[in-house]
Symmetry: C2
Subunit: 170 residues, 2 copies
DNA sequence: CCTACCGATCGGTAGG
DNA sequence: CCTACCGATCGGTAGG
């Protein structure tokens, strides 16, 4: 709180005329971002895009948030554990629902023959994890363009690293 | 330190007969794991495997460490920032070298036509990030088998999510 | 290995 | 918005 205060040019004690507690800030950040994700899911999930198009739209949002709102994303990703009840449970419920709908999308893709028969949970967590650390390495590699990153990551996930002509299987 | 002490059944003060400082523990954990990664790289990099085989071997190590030694991996991944100089610089140098050799492997694969023309840094960070969070979701999904996870992740990265027969490009 | 205790720091309050 | 200050907690030391 002392650091925050000096950043905005006041004493720590004065912050408490603007906020109720340190945790109020944490709540604000976590739920603001969680709502952004939920809203996008509520828009994408029932749409008539193909499952692969849906996955692409959601991954694009993750890339966007983790590269643009990265300090907020860092707080949500690393500090949600310090939410107190009942907020913590509410937050986890939102996350659970988001992950459930995301696996549903993957599973629908598998059923329709668009997506390979991977384990949907493994696919989901691998996707989410990989874009999660954008916040950390993106700022150390500023010369990279967000759209380049987006296209490269999409390409990797959708068609893999192995070159089309190359016969890699033993 | 109070928590650690009670976990091993002593008073916090007594811990200091076994260790020099809290930070000594952090150093121990960070460098023990960093050495494991470096050693594997020194073995794999100059070997006569194909670049893709090398990538597979390194990713397998990351999966192994992040699922088996997960508490140690969590400490290294999240707390290395609190290393003090000169240890911090030394740690970052090791990481930089590891990442450099890893991108070299990817770049060689691209040059040899085995790996698609992705940006090697983006590919690297996406690979590393995705397996990094194994520690967090693996224990919440205990029914998953480590080898299943390994195979699924490899498959995703190497040949992608899109089913072979499916024409997805617009 | 424990008791007793230290200086620093933290989130936060009282009172103006 | 500030000064002054609180109780709790933290890493660590002295001395046995």
């Amino acid at each position: 709180m002392r650091d925050l205060a000096s950043e905005v040019g006041m004493e720590a004690a004065s912050l408490y005329n603007h906020i109720k507690s340190k945790e109020e800030i944490l709540n604000e950040i976590c739920f603001s971002l969680a709502n952004t994700y939920s809203d996008k899911m509520d828009e994408v999930y029932p749409s008539d895009n193909t499952p692969i198009e849906k996955v692409k739209k959601l991954i694009a949002l993750h890339i966007q948030i983790n590269s643009m709102s990265s300090p907020l994303a860092t707080v949500m990703n690393d500090e949600w554990r310090h939410l107190t009840e009942p907020c913590k449970s509410q937050f986890l419920d939102m996350r659970k629902r988001y992950e459930y709908l995301f696996t549903e999308i993957i599973q629908q893709g598998v059923k329709r023959g668009e997506i390979k028969a991977v384990d949907p949970r493994i696919a989901l967590y691998t996707l989410l994890s990989s874009v999660r650390w954008l916040q950390h390495w993106y700022h150390a590699n500023r010369d990279l363009d967000v759209n380049d990153i987006k296209e490269n990551i999409m390409e990797m996930f959708l068609t893999g690293l192995v070159a089309d002509q190359y016969e890699w299987k033993p």
